[in-house]
Amino acid sequence: MTTAAIEFKEVTKVYRRRLAGQEVPALTHVSFEVGAGEVCAFLGPNGAGKTTSINILMGFLYADGGEIRVLGYEPGDVRAKQKIGFVPENFAFYKYLNAEKLLRFHLALAGGDMSKSIGLIRDLLFKVQLTGYEKLKIGKYSRGMVQRLGIAQALLSDPQLLILDEPTSGLDPAGRKEVKDLIHAMRNEGKTIFLSSHILSEVEEISDRAVIINKGRLVRMGSLNELLGTGDVIEIVTDQLPAEMEPMLAEWGATIDRGAHGVRIVAGATHKRELAEKLWAGGCDVVSMVPVRSSLEDLYMKLVGSGEAV
């Protein structure tokens, strides 16, 4: 792994309700790292401790124990914050401002060059498809527009590290695709992206690594290949399957699923070539042959459902 953009070592956080005498552990010895240039998904059910972790990373909350470094600095250090773009879970804004004024306000806080603000803001609003709405008060924006504006403000200072807490929440499918494309583009620019999301299929498409937590504990982390496997099983779809081939397939441990649009065969990748040749020889038309790996959603349900922890 390259130099870590985020280091989270043995981090513990307990919420204390002093009057009620209650203690609610939010994070218990959670450790993970995010390398520079990676897209890392941060996953877990509601209440798992994702937002608490992100708030600690941003310096909004103090951890009770552990060691945290963001871009080599302590959380909340202005030197780190100069290089971070952050989108909170529910991006809150000054409703009386319009997009242009809000971005100008954030640019001033970021210490940006105000003489170039007009061009920069126009480009960013174009990037998040808010061109034409720059003079409209944010209070009149839809949830999706607000979320896109949140992403625009995160990109204002050309950050090295983007921390996105549920960036696609409240967005329609088209809006989600736009955000996904933006994340792709930012990854291509070499930015480190740390995002939490509940939409696992999208996360799987754009992430290099995943960190899964549940009930304040780390459940699993690793690259998606490590977590989901590299495809030691294949799926072949043919137009038909002669009955005399079935015993051979059963011997290989393959599963056969006959449907209206063809036959789906799932078998070990070691028999891939032999199986394909036999199907061709048997007069079958092989429609597709793809490696199969478990989905992030399957893994997530397995881990979070079982409450497994490392």
Binding site: V78, K81, F105, L109
Partner: protein
Amino acid sequence: MKVWTIALSTFGSFLRNRLLIVFGVVFACTVLLMMTPLLGAKAMAKMGNSQQAEVMVLGMVSAIMFFVSGTGSLLAAWCAADAVASEMKSGTILAVMARPVKRWEFLLGKYAGVMLLMWVYVVMMYGLSWLLAWIGGERIHSTTWVLLVYPMVRYAVYSAVAMALVTVLHPLVTMGATLIMAVVALIVEPTTQAMTSNWKYLRVPIWIVLPSTSLLSEERFLTITHASLKQAGWLEHLTTVTYGLDYALVFVLIAMWSFHYRSLTRD
């Protein structure tokens, strides 16, 4: 620069705050009602002794301005408490603090925003005191800077106290505590009346600890008549203003220290 950006944004948000706009309208109506006896006093003055009329009119102006100025103290406290609490409640603080802004810079910016608003209030108050005197057919004899600086220092004290309290308390509790503090500060002011020894021993330390509202009050300068006109010494002014600024500074520092260690989220 960052502090000033936050201050201007805070000031702008106050000008659009519906609660404050309603407060302003109700307040203006109340002041208009209070002006009525002044017109009566002016009519009476034409028939009687002019020196007596001056005392009466300036006394009325001072009484109205006591109400206006006292309300300003509450306004300063409320705005300071709300400036911080509303950002935390709405969550807007997260996007702001994600920027390279230090916590003390944020708090100082908020405080400066409150002071900007209170400056507008003080200037309006100054204009009102002149208007009231003019309606009563008299003029204010005190110097301008005193009528501007004294209330500003007093508001600086109350907003600093409220800002320090709101870093640990709910804004409504903060307002209540500040109000109680202001009332107690008035009660424990030294008087010429005889006191029981027990009360005296309790009263003096409280008076020392709490900010002296009457010391920082500008009303005493409003009642100066042409006959009683005398220049207060520079040292007297300097001591009083320094006392108030020092008090405000201590509470701003306490607020910064307390804000540094608190969570910025609603957990």
